[in-house]
C-alpha cells in the first residue's frame, strides 16, 4: 500500500467559494493509501509548496495528489516541488477542481461531491503511477526560419546576433516578403523599402545566416532540439554563385509574357528575371513556364549574354537535409481574393483594385513608375473610393470572408488617402468604413490628420454595389450617420481586403504538428503568457502567421520569438517527456499494427530472445524510441494484446480513473 498525500487548494475563494475544500480533504482521508490530507489557501504559493514539501518528508509520501486548478496551469509547479522534496516528479497527479469544478458549478454541495470524486480519481490514477525518469536529448544549435519576410528576417537577425546559425527558407526567389511590396509605412510615412532593404542586406551578409530562397520545407521529422528538415530548393536555372545580378539577361529575354508577381501581376516581366531591384539574393531566376529554351529547347539567349556563365538550363531541384534545434514559422499572409464578393465587381473591373495593388500603383518601382494611374486606361483618377473591411469581420456562418478583423486596413487606408490627397490635391477620396480602429502609438493622430488636414471623406456605411457605368464606377452605399443612400461616380475603387495566412501555412502546420485555428493562423501555446510559442515544443511563431499585425508588431514578435529560440539553443540538453509509449516484450506479437499508426516513426522491430515465466524464444518485437515518441498513444489502441502502453497514461491508470468516476 502506497503512502499518498492529498493537498486541496482553496485558490482563495476561487475554489473554496463553491467547493467545501475542508470536506474534500476530510473525505480523502479514508481512501486506502491516503495517509495525509489537508487543504490550504494557495497551494501554489511558497507557503503552500512548503506544506507539500514538509508533508512529503514527514510522512515519507510515495506520491501526492494536488486538487487545485488545471494541470495545464500548475502541474509543472507541483512536479518541481515534489522533486525538490526528493519525490519522483511523475508521482504527482492533479485533480482539476477549479476550471472543471468550482468555476462551473454553483451549488456547493454538488461541487464538493464532484471535487471529491475528481480527487479520488486522481488518487486512483496515482496508485498506478510509476516513477518516471525523463531522458535527455541533444540540442542542435541551429534554427530554421520558414519565411523570409520582415518577421523571418528580424528573427533570423536576432538569433544570429546571439551567435547561432539560422537558415531562412523562403518560397519566393527573394526575401523581403510583403513589406518589400509596400510603398510607405504608417504612421510615419517612411519608405518601406528604405527601412527594409538594409535589413535584407544585413541578413545576407551575416555569416550565421544562410538564406535558402526559392525553396520550401518538404518534410520535418524529429522533435524539439533535434528536428530534421528536408528542404527542396527549386531549380533557378541560374547559378547563384556566379550570377552578378547585372540584369542584362532580363533585357535580352524574348519571352516577356510572364506576370510580374511582385507588382501584383499588373505588368509583365521576362522569363528570366530578378523580382525587384533590391532582391536578396540579387540573382536572376528562370520561370520555366515562360522560358522558350526550357519549353522548346530553342532560344538560349540569356546563356549567350551572361558574361558570368551563370545560366544552367539543366539545373534540377536540390534536396537539402539539415538538422535544427528550433523552427520558427514566419509564413506571413496574403490578401484574400475579393472576386467572390460580387458586389464589389473586382473580377469584372480593372479599376477596382486591392490595397496591395494600390501600393504597387503608387510605388516608384511599380507598373506605373509611381504615378497613380488607373489600370484600365492609364488616366489619372479624380474620384477614388476606398471600401473597408472587404472580407473581414464577416459573420462566421457565411462563406463571404473572414470572421476576424484584419487589423491593418484602417491604418493603411488612412495612409493611402493621405498620400493621394497630398500628391494629387485635385483628387477626391472617399472611405466607406464600418469602424475606424486606431489603437496604436500615433495611430489616431495619423487618422485625424487624414480627415482634418487632408480632407478625406470618411463615410460610415457599407457599400452595396460597385457597377461600371461608362468609364465611371458607380459606388452605391449607405451613409449611416446621415442616414441616407449615397452614390459616388468613382474613377478608382480600392478594396481594403482582408488578409489571410499564406496558403503554404496549412501544410507547414501539419508537417510541424503545430496546431492552427480554424482560419489557419497558428495557435500560440498560451494566448497571453506564451504568445510566440506553438503548443508543439520547439516551434515558434513570428509575424502574421500567428494573427494579423502591422510592421512594428511583427518586428516585436519576431524578436520575441528569437529570444525564445535563443533560450532554447543556449541549452546543451533538453529533458524529454518521459510519458512515452513502451512495449512489453513478453506480450508483443510483432504484428506491426502499432508501427502503422505511429505519426513519428518511433517504433521499430527487432528479433530478440524474450524470456519470461514459461517463455523463452526468439520473437519479433516492437521497440519504441523514447526520444522520438511524443506520447500520443495511437499505438496503444492499435495493439490488440495490450503490450503497448503509455507511461503516465497507462491503461491501468485510465481505467482506475474511470472506475472511480463511475462509482
Amino acid at each position: 500500500m502506497q503512502k499518498i498525500g492529498v493537498f486541496v487548494c482553496w485558490c482563495g475563494s476561487n475554489i473554496a467559494g463553491t467547493v467545501d475544500v475542508e470536506a474534500v480533504a476530510e473525505a480523502l482521508k479514508s481512501v486506502p493509501g491516503v495517509v495525509y490530507s489537508v487543504s490550504y489557501q494557495y497551494m501554489c504559493s511558497a507557503a503552500g509548496q512548503k506544506l507539500i514539501t514538509d508533508a512529503i518528508n514527514e510522512y515519507k509520501l510515495d506520491g501526492i495528489v494536488v486538487a487545485s486548478c488545471s494541470p495545464r496551469m500548475h502541474e509543472n509547479t507541483f512536479r518541481k516541488t515534489a522533486e525538490a522534496a526528493g519525490l519522483n516528479p511523475y508521482m504527482v497527479e492533479i485533480a482539476n477542481i477549479r476550471e472543471q469544478c468550482s468555476w462551473i458549478h454553483k451549488d456547493k454541495e454538488e461541487g464538493t461531491k464532484k471535487a471529491i470524486v475528481l480527487a479520488k480519481a486522481a488518487v486512483a490514477k496515482l496508485k498506478n503511477d510509476k516513477p518516471l525518469k525523463a531522458g535527455t536529448s541533444q540540442v542542435t544549435k541551429r534554427a530554421l526560419v520558414i519565411g523570409g519576410g520582415i518577421a523571418g528576417i528580424q528573427t533570423a537577425l536576432d538569433v544570429a546576433d546571439a551567435g547561432y546559425e539560422v537558415d531562412i527558407v523562403e518560397q519566393r526567389p527573394t526575401i523581403g516578403g510583403r513589406m518589400a511590396q509596400l510603398d510607405k509605412t504608417f504612421p510615419t510615412l517612411d519608405c518601406s523599402a528604405c527601412i527594409l532593404t538594409p535589413k535584407m542586406v544585413e541578413a545576407s551578409q551575416n555569416e550565421k545566416i544562410n538564406i535558402i530562397s526559392y525553396a520550401k520545407v518538404e518534410k520535418v521529422s524529429g522533435f524539439v532540439g533535434s528536428f530534421k528538415a528536408t528542404i527542396r530548393k527549386k531549380a533557378r536555372f541560374v547559378d547563384e554563385t556566379k550570377c552578378t545580378g547585372c540584369s542584362l539577361c532580363m533585357q535580352k529575354c524574348p519571352s516577356k509574357k510572364g506576370k510580374d508577381e511582385f507588382n501584383m501581376n499588373m505588368n509583365n516581366r521576362p522569363a528570366i528575371y530578378i523580382p525587384f531591384a533590391q532582391a536578396i539574393p540579387n540573382v536572376a531566376v528562370i520561370d520555366p513556364e515562360q522560358c522558350i529554351k526550357l519549353k522548346t529547347g530553342k532560344c538560349g539567349l540569356c546563356e549567350k549574354v551572361c558574361a558570368a556563365g551563370a545560366i544552367n538550363y539543366k539545373m534540377e531541384d536540390e534536396l537539402i537535409e539539415r538538422e535544427y534545434g528550433a523552427i520558427v514559422v514566419a509564413t506571413g499572409f496574403k490578401p484574400i481574393d475579393p472576386s467572390p464578393l460580387n458586389e464589389y465587381g473586382y473580377a469584372e473591373n480593372a479599376d477596382v483594385v486591392t490595397s496591395l495593388e494600390l501600393e504597387r500603383l503608387m510605388n516608384a518601382a511599380g507598373p506605373t513608375k509611381g504615378t497613380l494611374l488607373r489600370p484600365s486606361d492609364g488616366k489619372h483618377p479624380h474620384e477614388i473610393v476606398f471600401i473597408q473591411c472587404v472580407g473581414s469581420r464577416c459573420d462566421e456562418n457565411t462563406e463571404r470572408g473572414k470572421p476576424y478583423c484584419s487589423k491593418i486596413c484602417c491604418m493603411y487606408t488612412a495612409k493611402h488617402a493621405m498620400l493621394i490627397r497630398d500628391k494629387y490635391p485635385d483628387t477626391n477620396v472617399h472611405v466607406f468604413y464600418i469602424d475606424v480602429r486606431t489603437p496604436g502609438k500615433n495611430f489616431d493622430e495619423f487618422y485625424r490628420r487624414a480627415v482634418e488636414q487632408y480632407g478625406v471623406d470618411y463615410i460610415k456605411g457599407m457599400v452595396g454595389k460597385v457597377a461600371k457605368e461608362g468609364d465611371k464606377l458607380m459606388v452605391r452605399g449607405s451613409d449611416l450617420i446621415n442616414n441616407q443612400q449615397v452614390e459616388i461616380a468613382a474613377d478608382l475603387v480600392v478594396l481594403a481586403t482582408a488578409i489571410e495566412p499564406d496558403p503554404s501555412a496549412r501544410s507547414i502546420g501539419t508537417m510541424l504538428t503545430a496546431s492552427m485555428d480554424t482560419n489557419d493562423f497558428f495557435t500560440e501555446a498560451h494566448a497571453k503568457l506564451r504568445p510566440v510559442e506553438s503548443p508543439t515544443a520547439g516551434i515558434f511563431l513570428s509575424g502574421v502567421a500567428q494573427g494579423p499585425k502591422d510592421v512594428p508588431e511583427t518586428v516585436a514578435q519576431a524578436s520575441a520569438a528569437a529570444s525564445k529560440v535563443i533560450g532554447l539553443l543556449a541549452k546543451d540538453h533538453l529533458v524529454t517527456n518521459p510519458c512515452v509509449a513502451e512495449s512489453n516484450e513478453l506480450m508483443c506479437n510483432g504484428c506491426s499494427q502499432c508501427e502503422k499508426v505511429c505519426p513519428y516513426g518511433a517504433i521499430t522491430y527487432i528479433e530478440k530472445e524474450v524470456r519470461g515465466p514459461g517463455v523463452r524464444e526468439v520473437r519479433r518485437i516492437a521497440q519504441v524510441n523514447p526520444a522520438v515518441c511524443q506520447g500520443c498513444g495511437a499505438c496503444t489502441v492499435a495493439c490488440p494484446s495490450g503490450a503497448m502502453d503509455l507511461k503516465g497514461f497507462s491503461n491501468k491508470q485510465i481505467m482506475a480513473e474511470v472506475d472511480q468516476i463511475c462509482l
Partner: protein, 275 residues
C-alpha cells in the same frame, strides 16, 4: 473430516522486517492477538489482499512460537509487490494451514539433520530449524548450509549469525555466489559447497531453493552417498487453491496441496517429470 470454505480469517501485520532488497518478513497476528491458527513446519498458508490476489506462502516461523506467525516474502509479482508496500497495522486475509509438513515428529526424529537452502528457500526450512532448536533433545546434530547471490541476499542474516551460529550443536555454513567486499566467508554455489564440505551420508537432508539448485544439490548428495529416501524437499510453488481441488497441483496421481508440498525425493521419482 474438516470443512473447507475457502473463507479466510483476518490477520493483522504487526511487524515488518526488511531482510534483503527484495525480501521482507512479515509478522502476522490474529485480530485479537495470538496466532491465526496452529501449523507444523513445512506447511503453508494462503495470504491475500482482496482485489489484488491470493497466493500461497510457507510459514517461516516455527510452530513453537506461540505468539505470532511469520512469512518471508520475496517480491516477484503483483500481490507480493503490494505486500511489500504494507505497513504495520495493515489487515490481510489468511487461510490454512495447507499441505503436509516435514516429518519432524516422525522420520526426522532422532536423526542428524542437514539443512540445505538457497535464497528465499530458507523460508520453509527456517520453520523446521527453529522447531528443532526448540526441541533440541529430540534430534541429533544440526548442520545448515545456506547460500545466496550475495551477502545482502541472505535472508534472516541477524538470526543466523546471532542465534544459530552461537548455539551448541548447530553448525552453519554460509556461502555466496560471487566475491564481495566485506565478506570473508565461503564463495561458491551451494551444490559445490556441499561437495566440498563432504558430509557423511547419514541422517536426513532437507533441501529447499530454486529448482536448479535442488537438482544439483541432490546430485551432489547422492555422489556423497546419500540415498533418495534420506532427502526431503518442498514444492509449495505448485500450490494454488490449497485444498487439492482446483486442478493445478496435480502431478501424476499426486496433489501437491494434499500429498505435498513436502516430498521425499524417492516419491518424486515415481511421478511424471512434470514439476
Amino acid at each position: 473430516m474438516t470443512k473447507e470454505t475457502l473463507v479466510p480469517v483476518l490477520g493483522i501485520v504487526t511487524d515488518v522486517r526488511v531482510d534483503t532488497p527484495d525480501v521482507k518478513t512479515f509478522r502476522v497476528n490474529a485480530l485479537g492477538g495470538g496466532k491465526c491458527f496452529e501449523h507444523m513446519p513445512g506447511q503453508c498458508a494462503m495470504l491475500s489482499i482482496p482485489g489484488v490476489g491470493e497466493a500461497m506462502f510457507s510459514i517461516t516461523s516455527s510452530p513453537t512460537n506461540t505468539e505470532f506467525m511469520e512469512f518471508s516474502i520475496k517480491k516477484c509479482g503483483c500481490l507480493t509487490e503490494w505486500l511489500h508496500q504494507m505497513d504495520v497495522g495493515q489487515m490481510i486475509t489468511i487461510r490454512g494451514p495447507y499441505g503436509n509438513a516435514f516429518p519432524v515428529e516422525g522420520d526426522l526424529k532422532g536423526q542428524d539433520l542437514l539443512f540445505i537452502a538457497g535464497g528465499i528457500g530458507l523460508a520453509p526450512l527456517r520453520s523446521v530449524i527453529n522447531y528443532v532448536r526448540a526441541k533440541r533433545e529430540n534430534y541429533g546434530k544440526v548442520r545448515i548450509v545456506y547460500g545466496s547471490r550475495s551477502k545482502d541476499d541472505l535472508v534472516d542474516y541477524p538470526e543466523i549469525v546471532n542465534e544459530w551460529c552461537r548455539e551448541a550443536g548447530i553448525e552453519v555454513f554460509l556461502t555466496i555466489d560471487r566475491e564481495q567486499e566485506g565478506w570473508d566467508g565461503h564463495v561458491g554455489f551451494v551444490p559445490n559447497y556441499v561437495t566440498e564440505l563432504g558430509f557423511n551420508p547419514d541422517g536426513r537432508v532437507l533441501v529447499c531453493g530454486p529448482p536448479i539448485m535442488i537438482k544439483f544439490t541432490t546430485q551432489a548428495l547422492m555422489n556423497l552417498g546419500f540415498d533418495k529416501t534420506q532427502i526431503y524437499t518442498t514444492m509449495e510453488l505448485r500450490m494454488k487453491c490449497g485444498v487439492g481441488k482446483c486442478g493445478r497441483c496435480n502431478i501424476g496421481d499426486k496433489y501437491v496441496c494434499k500429498d505435498g508440498p513436502v516430498f521425499r525425493y524417492d516419491e518424486l521419482g515415481e511421478l511424471p517429470a512434470e514439476y
